[in-house]
């Protein structure tokens, strides 16, 4: 059963400038993205920085207004709901942000930040706020004695745990984690990921996990979407992505994340060429400027997202032509 359905979502940011502060161009941040997330699933979104991952996440939780397309949560279209109509859904979906240092109000103690959410949504009675708070902090692994401390007294990892506690305060079913560990030290990343894993099981969460790191996605997710310049170029299960990945961009990303297996390291492809400007995306395949397999067709026409196997969709003229998946030898 799909909990979240995203249909043809488009987001253009107007860029103002010139004499009268007119809109002079549009940043095409998200270009017609469609996918769905089933209950209990963890879906990853991967792509280079600036490809529109955060924008997609913010569109789903309605931090941004979509230019076109629809977001449906549990069957309800929430794309244009009013703030009051949205309130029940706010309780059901939450977001964890990328930069733990910016995700907590410096003027509020960490306890107050979480209590504010608990009180606002009447999750706990006034007298039981601190009990509930202690419970949450214990679950995410923050010392309950430090709840009256201010964010600057915490490390990045601790702040991110508080951010997770705040997201969990409303007891959500669905969480969007926007690069929750990429701002943290490598040694801390694993700890925070483990906390997320535990909580996922404990709260029976459905998750959209955003990262620029395929390794993390591979480790963490059931399924992944690969984004490039606001487009989804590949969607596939995360069983064996090294063997299954088909899109040249995904394969390049795999190369950029060398694995320990020496056989697989030989697949390494190096990304060359310019990323097209998001202001005026190319007419054909967005990846054409950097692709090894590029043909004239790629430069003229945008390849459609075609389902090859169950749950495996690829947008690439060359791959869709080949009946067999490309292997290392062919590349």
């Amino acid at each position: 059963m799909a909990l979240l359905e995203v249909e043809n979502l488009v987001k253009h940011f107007p860029v103002r400038g010139g004499l009268m502060n007119r809109v002079i161009k549009q940043v095409h941040a998200v270009n017609g993205v469609s996918f769905s997330v089933d209950k209990g699933e963890i879906v990853g979104i991967v792509g280079e920085s600036g490809c529109g991952k955060s924008t997609l996440g913010k569109l789903i939780v309605r931090l941004l207004e979509a230019t076109a397309g629809a977001v449906k949560f549990d069957g309800h279209d929430i794309t244009h709901s009013s703030p009051s109509a949205l309130l029940p859904f706010r309780r059901r979906m939450q977001m964890i942000f990328q930069d733990p240092h910016a995700s907590l109000n410096p003027r509020m103690t960490v306890g107050a930040a979480v209590r504010e959410v608990l009180a606002f949504h009447q999750i706990a009675a006034r007298g039981e706020l601190n009990t509930k708070l202690d419970e949450l902090f214990t679950q995410v692994g923050v010392n309950t004695d430090s709840k009256e401390k201010y964010p600057h007294e915490f490390s990045g990892g601790q702040k991110q745990r508080v951010g997770i506690a705040r997201a969990l305060a409303v007891n959500p079913e669905f969480i969007i984690a926007d690069e929750p560990v990429s701002a943290l030290d490598v040694s801390i990343q694993a700890q925070v990921l483990n906390v997320l894993m535990d909580l996922k099981a404990e709260f029976n969460l459905t998750m959209l996990f955003i990262s620029h790191d395929l390794k993390v996605i591979d480790h963490f997710c059931d399924r992944m979407l690969v984004m490039y310049l606001g487009f989804v170029v590949e969607e596939m299960p995360c069983q064996d992505i090294h063997a299954d990945a088909l899109h040249p961009y995904t394969r390049a990303l795999l190369g950029a994340n060398p694995v320990s297996d020496p056989d697989k390291r030989s697949e390494l492809t190096v990304l060359e060429g310019e990323v097209p400007s998001p202001y005026n995306p190319p007419q054909g395949c967005p990846f054409a400027t950097r692709c090894d397999l590029v043909t004239d067709q790629c430069r003229q026409e945008m390849p459609p997202l075609v389902e090859l196997d169950a749950g495996h969709r690829v947008a690439c003229w060359e791959v869709n032509k080949t009946p067999e998946p490309i292997t290392a030898a062919e590349v």
Binding site: L63, F97, A102, R107, E116, G163, A167
Partner: protein, 398 residues
């Protein structure tokens, strides 16, 4: 840890206290504030700054005057008043009413006073015979005798009265014989009062409009930006003069209060705060904790008042300091132009008086000097503090 402790322990506060000059400025400002507070509680009776306390244009620090001036002082101080009182029917009552500041008539029977007055007048007649009093030793001796005689009319002072009398004359008197020190001191109250009220109101207006404009964007932003660009395109002082002048000529009851000054200042001074708070809000609303607050479903007012405005408090503090100074300086200018403070002393009025009376022409600098020095120290201290605050809150400045 209490809030105050947290503030005093913050990185910004420690940076501020490391700046020695800023600490001196803080101490000076604290002194001024304390004086203003005491004056508001009425420690200085109105007669100290409003009444004649001595001869006109006397020099400060009890510096000796030239002979002409000494003659003038002795002649005008008590002699005339006592003489007139003695001519009245109800001599006792009249004598009791005679005073010059804290000075009163000596407790002697009217007959005795009468004879002192007559002897004084006799000495005065003899002095009048001299063309010049300065160089002639005879005249000098006569003048001293005249001074001593007239002094016998005055009751000796003791305790608090003695202190107040000397304090009143410490920095001299103005053309009307009012105490320059007390007038300059009282002006602190007027200046601080106008500064604090203006700065508070303007920071409040500026922060509210600025944050609303930055946060809501759209037409709210359009209106606020239009308002402040329009207001700031009118030269500040011209607007102040127009508003103050409108009140002065309207003949309304408010024209003798500080209301016109407040209105004139509040109409323009909110712009700077509004502009910086709007800019900061544009930045803050992209911060992830604000996004998190929105994702939690909080309403705009909660987000604005709990998550955005508290994080602009350093800007409000700096602007408060800048506005306070701006208001005090403008008050002085308006008062100098005769459009500001009325019915109470103000540095601007003192400078204006000094100019009108030709003090500067005749080399009498006590009034203009005192008023300028009092204002200069306060403005300098606040400028130093504003700079130090800006440095303390600037993350790039260590």
């Amino acid at each position: 840890m209490s809030k105050l402790q947290r503030i005093l322990n913050s990185r910004e506060a420690r940076k501020l206290f490391r700046d020695k000059i800023a600490v001196v400025a803080l101490v000076l400002i604290a002194g001024y504030l304390l004086i203003a507070l005491l004056l508001m509680c009425g420690v200085l009776p109105p007669k100290a700054y409003a009444d004649v306390v001595g001869p006109s244009n006397s020099r400060g620090l009890f510096l000796s005057e030239n002979a002409e001036k000494r003659y003038e002082i002795a002649r005008t101080a008590m002699l005339g008043k006592v003489k007139r009182a003695l001519q009245r029917e109800d001599v006792e009552v009249a004598l009791d009413e005679v005073h010059l500041g804290w000075l009163r008539v000596a407790e002697k029977p009217p007959e005795e006073l009468k004879s002192i007055v007559e002897e004084s007048l006799e000495l005065q007649r003899q002095l009048k015979a001299f063309e010049r009093l300065d160089d002639d030793p005879d005249a000098k001796a006569l003048l001293t005798a005249f001074e001593q005689k007239t002094n016998q009319l005055v009751a000796p002072l003791s305790g608090a009265d003695y202190f107040m009398h000397n304090a009143a004359l410490l920095l001299g008197t103005d053309a009307q014989g009012r105490s320059i020190l007390f007038r300059a001191l009282y002006s602190i109250k007027v200046a601080i009062q106008i500064g604090v009220v203006t700065a508070l109101v303007c920071v409040l207006i500026g922060a509210l409009l600025g944050s609303a404009a930055g946060y809501f964007g759209g037409w709210v932003d359009y209106v606020v930006v239009w308002l402040y660009t329009t207001f700031s395109s009118i030269p500040n002082l011209v607007l102040l003069v127009i508003i103050a002048y409108a009140f002065t000529t309207s003949g309304s009851d408010a024209k003798d209060t500080l209301l016109p000054v407040y209105i004139a200042f509040c109409a323009t001074f909110w712009i700077g705060t509004c502009r910086v708070v709007r800019g900061e809000t544009l930045k803050l609303k992209q911060m992830e904790y604000v996004q998190a607050a929105k994702t939690a479903g909080f309403g705009s007012f909660r987000v604005l008042f709990r998550h955005i405005l508290p994080n602009t408090s350093h800007l409000m503090l700096i602007n408060f300091s800048l506005l306070l100074i701006g208001a005090i300086k403008s008050e002085v200018i308006l008062s100098y132009l005769g459009l500001g403070v009325k019915g109470q002393p103000s540095w601007g009025l003192m400078i204006r008086d000094a100019g009108n009376n030709g003090d500067v022409m005749t080399g009498f600098f006590w009034q203009i000097g005192t008023a300028t020095a009092f204002m200069f120290v306060l403005v300098l201290a606040f400028n130093i503090l504003s700079d130090a605050l800006q440095d303390a809150f600037d993350p790039k400045h260590l």
